[in-house]
Structure formats: structure tokens, C-alpha cells
């Protein structure tokens, strides 16, 4: 019992299972998570904020963004403090195209993702040569620049923001409704699953190795033939793509975007989700996003002091679990099989 650890426990079950059992586990887990909107009656209920809204935003969207940021910070070790920029680009793309064209959310989605990726490349090309804290401050600045530009140019409607953004069109029997946000939750869940799929795919193949090598020793990686700048930009761009996708959906869910929604605080909060849950570990990051997204609304009863409590929680958890709640630690045994079926 002394060495019990949830991550290893879970991984053990996974390894002992054969393919059909694994498929079954995956389906059951996804099914259970998809039921989450129905679980709001009891202990989980959030005072004031509607539970079904809270699990879409912040919880699910935080998880999605944390997974995206984790590609940048966790996988390839670059500190990005301006992640909100890509979220904002996605949201504003949705806002602008949503009210000025007849495109719907799903048609705008690829455009938003594309623009976010473009911004990622444009920012990445000159700056990703910088290291560590310098990169952090430059990305931070980029996040602020996007917000300030949104505040000062006319097509974003300045500080008034863009309102009246259309909701996504119904998907068959699934109808998007304001007073019942289950469908939004399922859509974000699907996006989260796609992101997890993408990260897992890439992790065991060449890009994952390249990122891992860059994170651990960038010079050695380059000398072993890893085109580091290229993979850093890829990492940055994929992170941007996820952020942009989250932004598009957020715009369409929120029906309103304004510059004050995209402050540095969002970047920091998402980074906190990543580090808090367990940097580099998909499951840890998800746990981080869920807890940090959900907690402030759950503890609304302490009303005015909740940000204080939130800060204290960050300090305490980081001091006692510096690698996060579910840390990244490769298990040596596990890799034999994983390698075999990749």
C-alpha cells in the first residue's frame, strides 16, 4: 500500500488487458464521462453557476486548452505564457465570420484553427530560437498584443466586443440550447478525445521523440539530427491549433466575445492547470484542467475569498507535489508492449 499510486495502478490494469478489454474500457470511460452533464444534482452541483454550463466552460474547455498547451510546455519544454492569444484568435474568427458571413460554426472551425496556426508560425519563426525565460516573456507579450489589438481596431468592435454570435447548427437530433448545454459538453468532449488521440499518436512516433529530445537536451537533440526549430514550430503550431479550436467553440457557445475575456490571467490559469495536474502527462493535465476549472465555482460559497483560497491551493500543492497530482514518469516495464504495437 505504501507504494500505491493511482497512475501506476491504472497503467497496470491497462497493460494486463488485451485488445477487446481495452476497447471496452475506453468505451465505458467515454460513456461515463459523457454522462457527466446528468450528474449535477448532488454533491457536484455548483452554487450559482449552472452545473451544466460550468462543465462546458470552464471545465471542458480548460481541459482542451490544457491539452493543447501541454504539447508546447509539457512535450517540448517551451514555456508559453501567451497561450490565450490563440484562444482569442479562434474566438474572434468565430465572432467576426459568424456575424458577417453565413458560415456556421463547423465551417468556421477550420478557418479559426488555420488562423491560429498561422499566428503560431509567425510568432514561432523569429522567437523560438530564444530559450527559457526569454521565450516566456515574448509569448506573454504576444498574448497582450492580441488583446490590445482587439481593443483598438475597428473590425473587432473595440472594447464593446462582438455580440450576437450564432450558436452552432444542430447536429441531427442533438440540439444546441442555451438553457441546457449538454450538447456543447459532448462536442468539447469529442474535441478533447481527438486531441488525446493526436497527442498519443505523435508521442510514440518521430515527432514525440523529437519533442522529448528537445525538452531534455536541445543541443544534443540537434546534434543527433533532430531539426529542432522545425519541431518546435510544429509543437507551437499544434498547440495553437487546439487553442484556436477551443476559441471558435467558446465564441459560438458564449455568443459574445470581448477583449477583456482574453487577459493574461487565462494563459496563467491554463498553465497552472498543466503544471498542477502533472506536466507532460495527458491524464495529469486533464485532472488539472478539471480541478482548476471546477474548483472556483464549487467554492463560490466562500465568495470573496475564493481566489485567495485558489492561490493557497496552488502554493500548497506545488510544494507537496511539485510534479503535479499525476506526475509524468515513464514506466520502464510498460514500454516494451507499447513499442510493439505502435
Amino acid at each position: 500500500m505504501k507504494n500505491f499510486n493511482l497512475r501506476d495502478f491504472g497503467a497496470d490494469i491497462w497493460e494486463r488487458s488485451n485488445r477487446p478489454v481495452r476497447v471496452a474500457i475506453v468505451i465505458v470511460v467515454i460513456g461515463l464521462v459523457a454522462m457527466m452533464p446528468y450528474a449535477g444534482a448532488g454533491f457536484l452541483a455548483t452554487p450559482i453557476a449552472a452545473y451544466d454550463a460550468v462543465i462546458v466552460y470552464p471545465v471542458a474547455i480548460f481541459v482542451l486548452m490544457s491539452l493543447g498547451l501541454n504539447i508546447v510546455v509539457g512535450k517540448s519544454g517551451m514555456l508559453d505564457l501567451g497561450y490565450v492569444a490563440f484562444f482569442a484568435i479562434g474566438a474572434y474568427t468565430m465572432g467576426f465570420l459568424g456575424i458577417h458571413t453565413s458560415l456556421n460554426t463547423w465551417e468556421i472551425m477550420p478557418i479559426g484553427i488555420g488562423l491560429a496556426m498561422l499566428a503560431g508560425v509567425m510568432l514561432g519563426l523569429p522567437t523560438l530560437r530564444l530559450r527559457g525565460d526569454y521565450l516566456a516573456i515574448v509569448t506573454l507579450g504576444f498574448g497582450e498584443i492580441i488583446r490590445i489589438v482587439a481593443l483598438n481596431v475597428s473590425w473587432t468592435n473595440g472594447p464593446n466586443g462582438i455580440s450576437g454570435i450564432p450558436m452552432p447548427p444542430d447536429i441531427g437530433p442533438l440540439k444546441f440550447r442555451l438553457d441546457d448545454q449538454k450538447v456543447f459538453f459532448w462536442v468539447v468532449l469529442a474535441m478533447i478525445l481527438m486531441t488525446i488521440w493526436m497527442i498519443r499518436r505523435l508521442s510514440v512516433r518521430r515527432p514525440g521523440r523529437a519533442w522529448e529530445a528537445i525538452r531534455q537536451d536541445e543541443d544534443a537533440a540537434e546534434l543527433m539530427g533532430v531539426p529542432t526549430l522545425k519541431y518546435k514550430i510544429w509543437s507551437f503550431t499544434l498547440g495553437a491549433a487546439v487553442g484556436g479550436a477551443a476559441g471558435v467553440l467558446y465564441g459560438s457557445k458564449n455568443l459574445f466575445v470581448a477583449p477583456e475575456m482574453f487577459t493574461l490571467n487565462v494563459s496563467i490559469l491554463i498553465l497552472a492547470c498543466v503544471v498542477f495536474g502533472g506536466i507532460g502527462n495527458i491524464w495529469g493535465v486533464i485532472v488539472g484542467g478539471v480541478i482548476l476549472g471546477y474548483l472556483p465555482d464549487r467554492i463560490r460559497f466562500i465568495s470573496d475569498a475564493r481566489l485567495l483560497v485558489f492561490g493557497l491551493v496552488l502554493v500548497v500543492v506545488m510544494n507537496f507535489r511539485p510534479d503535479g497530482l499525476l506526475p509524468r514518469k515513464k514506466r520502464e516495464k510498460a514500454l516494451v508492449k507499447k513499442g510493439a504495437n505502435s
Binding site: 518521430r206 521523440r209 543541443d219 546534434l223 543527433m224 520502464e332 513499442g339
Partner: protein
């Protein structure tokens, strides 16, 4: 006479006011083991750093297999067939032994991120090829039993060997070994000497920095000596050993014990 693989011409490297390398000329022939020796601070590792593109030479050229390496990106140089190990071990600690080597084998593969993401046939094939090749290399170096251990948890000697294996993963024509025997006991040194010879016999050319004279005498075809950034000797081991300038360089400046 076999063909010249690497040729340094009048290579000069200055850091601010300090001249680390001064007009160094050096040739490495295909298939030989050339040892580069010299007292500490003589500029041996600087030679490696210039060849591999870590430093940009102040003047002079580095010709490798028909290409001038000066001004190329580091990963491109590796792609052309130059690979190195590090004096202070710089493995990817959180990766397994096997993954360390696979990371290096990626350099000649074509499939990129998109292929990997969607699992194109080529990407899948290349993953398989990489794996097979990496396992072969580990077996060749004799550390295949550790293939699934994390690099940071390996015994010291295995880490040193993994450095060589990882460099071999890039399929180099020229292998630069930076003090591969540092910290080894005599027994391990003998084993390492065997390995290096085996590597050469497998068709690799080796340029080696080393302090241990007996190891060098045992395996090198030729020895070049650097002192204060200048090449002072370049000949067969026995000749170099008796060269008065070399002796002076070593006695004049206390040699490092290792």
C-alpha cells in the same frame, strides 16, 4: 591510399580575444581510427564543436565527403554523416535506451509530423525500420539487454556505450568520440577498445579524443596532437609518442589524470 573523408583546412576559432584553434590542418582517411590528443584546454573538443556546427569557425574550412560544413545547420551536418558523443554524457535521460537510438535513426527518415499523425504506410514502415536498426545497433554495442531501461537509470558504463550507440544511430560515415573512456576502470577500457575496433571494422571512420595513452596506442592508426590550439604532431602512434615536442607539451603542462 584510401580517400580522405574529412579535411580541416587552416581552421581558426577565436572567442573574443582568445584563440582556441590556430590554423589547424587535419585529415581523416576513410576507415581509420585517428586519435586527437593534447593537454587540457588544447582545443580538442573545440575541434569537435566546429566540425559539428556548434561553433562557427572564425576562418578556414571543414571539408567532409565533398561538402563544406562551415555555415551548415547542426542537424544537417549530422544528416551528411557526422555524429558525435559527448564528454559529459548527454543522453535523453527520460527516454529508454532504445528510444535514444531511435531518435537518432530518425535523421534519415522522410516521414514528418503529418505522416506520423495519420499513420501513412511510409511512416509505419519507417517506424519499423528504425526499431529494427536501433535494436541491431544495441546488440552490436552489446547493451541490448538494457533496451527498455530509462537512460538515466543505466549504469555509468552502459551510458557511455549508449552514447556511442546513439551516435551510430544516425548512420554516420564519421564518428566523433569525445573521451569515451572517461571514468572507466582498466577492464572496461579494454572492452571499450574492442568495441571501437569493432565499430571501425564495421565500416565507420572514427575520430577520437582520449587521454588514456595505452588505449590510444592500442587502437589508433594515427595520432594528432594539439597544444594551445595548434597542431604539433600528426603521425603513427609510436612516432608521436617519441616526438620531443609532444613530450614537452605534456610535461610542460601537467596532464589531466583521467
Amino acid at each position: 591510399m584510401s580517400k580522405t573523408l574529412l579535411k580541416l583546412e587552416n581552421l581558426t576559432m577565436k572567442f573574443g580575444g582568445v584563440t582556441a584553434l590556430n590554423e589547424v590542418n587535419l585529415e581523416v582517411k576513410e576507415g581509420e581510427i585517428l586519435a586527437l590528443i593534447g593537454p587540457n584546454g588544447a582545443g580538442k573538443t573545440t575541434v569537435f564543436n566546429v566540425i559539428t556546427g556548434v561553433y562557427q569557425a572564425t576562418s578556414g574550412s571543414v571539408l567532409f565527403d565533398g561538402h563544406n560544413l562551415v555555415g551548415r545547420k547542426r542537424f544537417q551536418i549530422t544528416g551528411l554523416g557526422v555524429a558525435r558523443t559527448f564528454q559529459n554524457i548527454r543522453l535523453f535521460g527520460d527516454m529508454t535506451t532504445l528510444e535514444n537510438v531511435i531518435t537518432a535513426t530518425d535523421v534519415h527518415k522522410k516521414s514528418g509530423l503529418v505522416g506520423s499523425l495519420f499513420g501513412t504506410p511510409r511512416a509505419r514502415r519507417e517506424e519499423r525500420e528504425n526499431r529494427t536498426k536501433a535494436l541491431e545497433i544495441l546488440e552490436f554495442i552489446g547493451i541490448d539487454e538494457y533496451s527498455d531501461r530509462l537512460a538515466k537509470n543505466l549504469p555509468y558504463g552502459v551510458q557511455r556505450r549508449l552514447e556511442i550507440a546513439r551516435a551510430m544511430g544516425t548512420t554516420p560515415k564519421l564518428l566523433l568520440l569525445d573521451e569515451p573512456a572517461a571514468g572507466f576502470n582498466p577492464q572496461e577500457k579494454v572492452e571499450l577498445a574492442t568495441t571501437i575496433k569493432k565499430v571501425r571494422d564495421a565500416g565507420y571512420t572514427v575520430l577520437l579524443i582520449e587521454h588514456d595513452m595505452s588505449l590510444i596506442m592500442g587502437i589508433s592508426d594515427r595520432v594528432a596532437v594539439l597544444d594551445f590550439g595548434t597542431k604539433i604532431a600528426d603521425d603513427s602512434p609510436t612516432v608521436v609518442q617519441n616526438d620531443p615536442r609532444v613530450i614537452e607539451a605534456y610535461l610542460g603542462v601537467p596532464a589531466d589524470a583521467s
